[in-house]
């Protein structure tokens, strides 16, 4: 095996350090290198995913140090799938943002690209690491780059959003450390497989306290209510590709971390907790979203809502539910990226982020409007778009588990979601125009990026079988905990 999971981490980090140097030689290197790196990551991830699906779990031990001292990177069908997804979306977001950054002052581009790449690499790291403390480190990498990117624009409230993000993020890291500490003192290891193996020896109260610290800290990353105060601000103030990255990459990494810890490490039943908190998250987020006046903030709340639904699905816990949750994560990543990308163009052309200025914008940006509408219909879950299937599977799973009120509640919240999305679609197409004709048409690379996402939405919507198999394997891999532990420990 030539390609190992280490490439995921090492290549982007090296490239990140190389960019400032290479920029001296070639000016556009800062733009190009992340693309190359991310493309390489895609190749890596697909190769790995294929390998994993054929041969079983890969566990790469770094520098030969065994657990608990060493760090290992694990590729299961589950993590491989998420890593591939994150890589692909990272690449598409890079493609989208390739010329977007022309508007920035020349010197800043490289910082942006570095941070962006680090954020994606860190997210991949979170996903593929098999070590708890390593996960903490990657989370912090993601966090620091995310704080910086949130404050990237000078003239806005970016700093404020970033500060809030940082404040809450520090809490997250503090509690994560506490949780890790408890786990370490009780099990004496940081390797997740080993922890999982030894978890039954841990006294119940310790286990639960550790669990609570994990829930709090990772809940912050996964934007769970009431820990998500930072999220709308950060989403709305970051540059749009970054917002897309938050939605498509960072939040998925956060959810992954939460799910990994809850499902693999702990044997405490958290299903009800996840369902209830997921539902509350979803409800509050959509309630907050419906009366937003700011497009990106609204999309941010909507993202939170989707994450809530993902948590619900994981909370149901059956095979089909996990399958649906993964499907929804994928859909959410794709669709919300598309929405942020298109929304970014709307904002670009209107000077303020307010919804009011979207009136009749389709005349100026027909293609972007079309993509936005597609995304809006898809994320609400209208067939025949991709969003429908994930929601459908989750509901079927909920039905199988006889969570009647959950089904009704989720669908009720969906109605709220539908209301505000369609209001915007109506506004885009049918409200009276107010602004001057657009001066910023989408660049070709942005169109390609958005078209790819839109195409995905349509194709998966009409023919979901395309990705059923990897999703199925991923769901199996997540649920089959003993297999995971045995594989890793034997490989080590």
């Amino acid at each position: 095996m030539v390609i190992t999971p280490v490439h995921y981490i090492v290549v982007p980090l090296l490239a990140a350090f190389a960019i400032p140097l290479l920029t001296k030689i070639y000016k556009d290197a800062a733009r190009l290198i992340p693309g190359i790196v991310l493309f390489y990551n895609i190749i890596v991830s697909f190769n790995l995913l294929k390998y994993v699906n054929e041969h079983g779990i890969i566990s790469e031990t770094i520098a030969g140090w065994q657990a608990p001292w060493g760090i290992n990177l694990v590729i299961t069908p589950f993590t491989g799938f998420l890593a591939s997804m994150v890589s692909v979306l990272g690449f598409i977001i890079w493609l989208y943002g390739y010329r977007f950054k022309r508007t920035l002052k020349g010197g800043l581009v490289k910082y942006y690209e570095i941070l962006q790449m680090m954020m994606i690499a860190g997210s991949i790291g979170v996903i593929i690491t098999g070590d708890l403390f390593n996960m903490f480190v990657f989370i912090e990498i993601v966090g620091i780059s995310a704080y910086s990117l949130t404050a990237f624009y000078r003239g806005r409230d970016g700093a404020e959003a970033s500060f809030k993000y940082l404040l809450i993020g520090s809490f997250a890291s503090t509690f994560l450390l506490l949780g890790i500490l408890i786990i370490y003192t009780q099990t004496g290891t940081l390797n997740m497989a080993q922890i999982a193996e030894r978890m039954h020896e841990v006294p119940q109260h310790m286990k639960i306290i550790a669990l609570i610290f994990f829930l709090i800290s990772l809940g912050i990353e996964a934007e769970m209510f009431p820990l998500n105060g930072w999220a709308p601000d950060a989403y709305s103030q970051a540059p749009s590709p970054t917002s897309a990255t938050f939605a498509a990459v960072v939040s998925i990494a956060g959810v992954y971390a939460l799910i990994r810890v809850l499902f693999t490490l702990f044997d405490v039943p958290v299903n009800n907790y996840l369902m209830i908190m997921g539902f509350v998250t979803m409800l509050v987020a959509e309630i907050a979203a419906i009366s937003q006046k700011d497009l990106k903030r609204m999309l941010a709340y909507s993202s939170i809502g989707q994450v809530g639904l993902v948590l619900i699905a994981f909370g149901i816990g059956s095979k089909l539910a996990v399958f649906g949750a993964l499907f929804l994560m994928l859909n959410h990543a794709v669709i919300k990226s598309l929405l942020f990308m298109t929304g970014s163009y709307f904002i670009y052309n209107t000077d303020n982020k307010k919804l009011k200025s979207l009136n009749g914008i389709h005349k100026r940006l027909p293609l972007v409007s079309f993509f936005f509408s597609l995304g809006a219909l898809a994320i609400v879950g209208f067939p025949p778009f991709a969003g429908f299937w994930s929601k459908f599977y989750i509901l079927i799973a909920a039905g199988d588990a006889r969570h009647v009120y959950l089904i009704v509640g989720v669908l009720g919240v969906t109605i709220i979601e539908l209301t505000y999305y369609l209001r915007i679609v109506g506004r885009i197409y049918f409200a009276k125009e107010e602004e001057e004709p657009a001066s910023h048409k989408p660049s070709i690379n942005a169109i390609i990026a958005m078209s790819a996402l839109a195409l995905f939405i349509l194709v998966i919507g009409v023919y979901p079988d395309l990705i059923m198999q990897p999703l199925n394997q991923a769901a199996d891999a997540l649920l089959n905990k003993t297999h995971y532990i045995n594989q890793i420990l034997s490989l080590n």
């Binding site: 500060f163 404040l167 506490l178």
Partner: protein
């Protein structure tokens, strides 16, 4: 010369309680600062203090009374039994670095905020809400 080792041995219990207590105390001070102080810099300081508390806790947990430095050296192959746990120390080192980075970033943000809003009162930084 004072034999610290024996002093530690004598006051092991007290010291252990003192270390843990200090850690918890630091965390609480940090929390207090973060939650109730209005000045941004004080909040950042609170975060740092909280971090320090956590780090102290980590080190304290890893400490074995009378342990040696976690170094394997020739002639000392059985050190694993007596030396303190190296992992928390490594972790704390990493965490300190990260905390440093975060604090630096936070302070830069504070400067930015102060420049922009001419205030460092967190209550007045509410332009993003609802």
């Amino acid at each position: 010369m004072i034999d610290f080792h024996t002093i530690f041995e004598q006051y092991k219990e007290i010291i252990s309680i003192a270390v843990y207590g200090t850690a918890v105390f630091l965390i609480i001070i940090g929390l207090y600062a973060v939650l109730l102080k209005k000045h941004l810099v004080k909040i950042v300081i609170g975060l740092s203090i909280m971090d320090a508390g956590i780090h102290l806790l980590f080190v304290a947990v890893g400490y074995i009374s009378g342990g040696t430095a976690p170094i394997f050296s020739p002639g000392n192959e059985n050190a694993a039994n007596t030396m303190v746990d190296p992992v928390p120390q490594a972790l704390v080192l990493t965490a300190i670095v990260i905390g440093f980075a975060v604090t630096a970033l936070a302070l830069s943000l504070v400067i930015r905020l102060y420049k922009h809003h001419h205030t460092a009162n967190i209550d007045q930084l509410k332009s993003l809400k609802w």
